[in-house]
Structure formats: C-alpha cells, structure tokens
Amino acid sequence: MNIYLREIKANFKSLLVWSATMVFLVLAGMMKYSAFQKTGEAVNAMFNQMPAGILAVMGISADQDLTSVGVFYSIFFLYFLLLMTVHSSMLGVTVIAKEERDKTADFLLVKPIRRSCAITAKILAAITLVIAYNLVTFISSAMIVKPFNDTGTSLTGPIFYLTSCLLVIQILFLGLGLLFGALARTSEKASGMATAVILGTFILKILIDLKADLDYLDFLTPFRYFKAIDVMYKQEISIPYVILSVVLAGTAMAGTYWLYQKRDLHS
C-alpha cells in the first residue's frame, strides 16, 4: 500500500500537466467548430449526390451529417491517441526503472516485501493513473462538447465509448512501457525503445492510411485498432482488437514480473 501511494504521489504532478494539456487541446479544438460547420454544409450537399460506393471507400456512411459536433469531435481521436500513448508508455517505463535510475533500488529491496509485491503495487498505481487520465479526457470532453451540441441527442454516450477504446490502448502501451522498463538495462534505453514503438506504429498507420490494401497489417499498429466514427455512431468496438490489446498487455505485464524477479538490480 505504501509503495502504491508513493508511486501515485510521485507521478501526480506530471498527471496534472498532462491533464491540463488535454483540456487545453479539447477546448482549443472545439472553439473552431462553427467555422467547420459552415464549410461542412457545402460538403453535405455534395455528398448526397455521390454514389454510396465511393463514400464507403472513404469510411463515411451516406446518412451521416458531416457538420455534426460528433463527427467533428471524432477527428480528435488521433490527437488523444498520440498524447495517451506517450503518457502511458513513459509512465510504465518510469515506475519500473526509476529505482535504479535514482539509485534507490537497494532501499526498496531491503523492505520486508517480495519483489513481486512491489511490482504489483507499482503496476496498480500506474493503472490508477492511466484511468485517472482517461477520466479527465472523458469528463472534460463531455463538458466542453455539450454547449456546441444542438442536435438534441446527447453525445456523452458516444464519447464514453470512444474514451473506453482509448483506455484499452492506454493499457496496452502501459504494458509495453512496463516490459521495456524491466527489460532494458537503463531507463534511458527503455524509454528509447518505447519511443521507437510509438513512432514506428504511428508511421505504419500513415502508410496504411495512404494505401488501403495494406489494412491486413492493422493488427501491428494500435493507432488503427478503432475507427472513431464507427465507435461513436455504431457502437462498433472491434472485439478482436480489444482482446488482442488485453492479451498483449497481460503478457507484457507477466513478462515484467518474470524479468524483474530475475533482475540483478544495480544499487
């Protein structure tokens, strides 16, 4: 319990900074909605004349109102993903690797607890922080979007689905960060590996976006696991990807225990 509280406290300030960034992003983005709405009306008119096949290729269904707040908000999904993958993977690396980095590993290990208990406390603390960040995103989004929503139907539900998908991705990247933290010799190496994964999967996403034929590679990049519009409007959360993410995160966390158990900690 003490370790858990300590980790929460140690990362609380950075959570505040990340949260402020998130709120700023949503706020700044929504400010621009009215301009988008105006140009959107022309697009809507044009869409109604286009054959449904072409629309399907572009991932838009014919009855969708492109000027609605929801569609506009769904553009933010990518921004959230970018912020959250960095936050959760770096958090994962830090909670594991910080003891050796700060030369406090011997202090931790002379405590009368097993290594596995220390890891459990750290992982739970990290999960708590990740959920907190997710909640900040959900609550601030729901509150900021509300005044712009003039359709009559509440968007809180769709936003909740979207942030639930984000949580899945967050847990996945948290798992990877934890694993790298236990795997690499120094925290610098671990965060380097996490950076490579984030940039690599992001660039893969761009490639697949450019060439739709490549979409069988989707499973390699979490940036393409969920489609914001489908999630929000059809409640279509692709279960295979949820399972894949959870399994990957679980495996990574199990690996973290295993590696940390055998680790020769430098003090």
Binding site: A35, F36, T39, T94, R101, S187, S191, L199
Partner: protein, 264 residues
C-alpha cells in the same frame, strides 16, 4: 576534451536516430510506386472537394502521384522523428550533470560555465548537421535506386534542411528547459511530451485551418506543400524559427551562468 567526451556520449543515440530516420525514409520511398496509381485516382476524386474538407479528413493538398509531391508529404513525418531527436539532444545535454550527480566534478574544472554550454551546443549542432547531411546524401541515393525518377535536387535539399531548422527550434527549447529545471530525471518523457504537443497543434492547425496556430508550432513553419510551390522557405517563418533558436540558446547561457547546482 569536453567536446570529445560529449561526442562519445551522444554518438550511440545519434546513430540510432539517424538509422531510424533513414529506415523511415526507405520504407516511405519504397511505397511510392505502390501508392502512385491510388494517389492519381484519389486526386481526381478529391479535386471536387472544398479545401477545408480535404484538410479535415487528412488528405494532402499536394499531388501524391508525383515524386516531389509525395516527398513533400512524407517529409512531415521524417521531421517529426528528427524533432524528437533534436529535443532529446537539447534536454539531454545540459541536464546530464545534475542527473548523474556529477555537476561538482564538471564545474570544478578550470573552464568557464559559458564554455561548458558552448561546447555542448557545439556538439549538438555538429550532430544535427551531420544527420541532415546523411539523410540528404543517402536519401538522394535511395531516390535514385528505389524510385528511379528524376527529382529536383534543390527541392529535396529544402525539404531535408527543413528538418534541421525544426530541430534547431527544439534544441533551443530543450536546452532552456534543461537549464531552468533543477533536475530532469528522465529525458524522453519530457522530450516526447513537448514534441508531440507541438505536433498535435500542427495537426489541429492543418485539420481546422486555424491560421493563428501557424506561428505557434515549428511543424507549420516549413510545410512541404509551400516549399513545393514557393521553391524557398517562407522568410517570416524562417526568421521566427531562427529567432526562437537564438533567443532560447542565449537564454540557456544566461540561466546556466546563474544556476545553483547541487553538490553531492
């Protein structure tokens, strides 16, 4: 001495990032043929759409079926990777001694503090310029081998050195952050957080056409599409970029001179 030490310390990560950049470039380049037909088709289709719509859904406003158009589109992702490195260098160099608790060792050497900062920035500049040159020469070779189409070398140079200019911005910001913070425990979370924040501002700027945001993020200073049409950088934005670099590095000299270092 200091130069050599810093160089040896930074070389590994320089190599990793340079290889990463080249790898990214290679992958993008080898997909060009693959994309071209699709791009040409898409381009025709998109001609009918209003500009704002295309931007919001992430379609590029350059012709992806031509080499230069394609390069000017992919360069923004190359710049992103490069920017992460620039920021990492900036944050890493000046924060190294407080982090490793070797400040008193360094500061007891018979050199002035400004000489320390100068040596570190000098190394950073050498590494960044070397990286840009490596990307330029090897990238040009790759275009010859993989894409096999003539390209305008001047445009390619402008695109690659846009990365260097963005890196300078982040080097400056990073060194101010490092000089001002009493201790930075790990570099990457800070570096990645700040770079991605600016990158997202650029994404917002692109999707929503928020002209005011252009001045806020270096990723908007040297856009591939404008390099392609203008055939030079936009002078006011170039001036802003360099001013921020000069002011930021000047500031980090000033802060470092007055900093109270903790001895072990």
């Amino acid at each position: 001495m200091m130069l050599l030490f810093e160089f040896r310390k930074s070389f590994r990560s320089w190599l990793n990032f340079t290889i990463g950049l080249l790898l990214t470039f290679t992958i993008f380049a080898s997909f060009f043929d693959f994309f071209r037909e699709d791009a040409a088709l898409m381009d025709q289709l998109l001609q009918n759409f209003p500009e704002e719509f295309r931007a919001a859904f992430g379609f590029a406003n350059v012709n992806l079926s031509e080499v230069e158009g394609y390069l000017s589109f992919i360069i923004s992702y190359i710049v992103l990777v490069g920017a992460v490195y620039g920021m990492k260098l900036g944050v890493g160099l000046l924060s190294a001694e407080p982090r490793e608790k070797t400040s008193d060792f360094l500061l007891s050497k018979p050199v002035r503090r400004w000489e320390i900062v100068a040596a570190k920035l000098e190394i950073a500049l050498i590494l960044l310029v070397a990286q840009a040159l490596a990307l330029f020469t090897l990238g040009l070779a790759e275009i010859k081998i993989i894409i096999k189409q003539p390209i305008d070398v001047g445009i390619f140079a402008l695109l690659v050195f846009a990365m260097l200019l963005v890196q300078l911005f982040f080097l400056g910001i990073g060194s101010v952050v490092a000089a001002a913070a009493s201790k930075i425990k790990s570099i990457m979370p800070v570096a990645l957080g700040i770079v991605f924040f600016f990158f997202i501002i650029e994404l917002v700027n692109e999707s929503l056409h928020l002209k005011e945001l252009t001045y806020l993020t270096p990723f908007a200073y040297f856009k591939g599409s404008s390099i392609l049409t203008l055939r030079h950088y936009e002078w006011p934005l170039l001036a802003i970029d360099l001013t921020i670099f000069v002011v930021a590095t000047g500031l980090s000299f000033w802060i470092y001179q007055r900093k109270d270092f903790h001895a072990v």
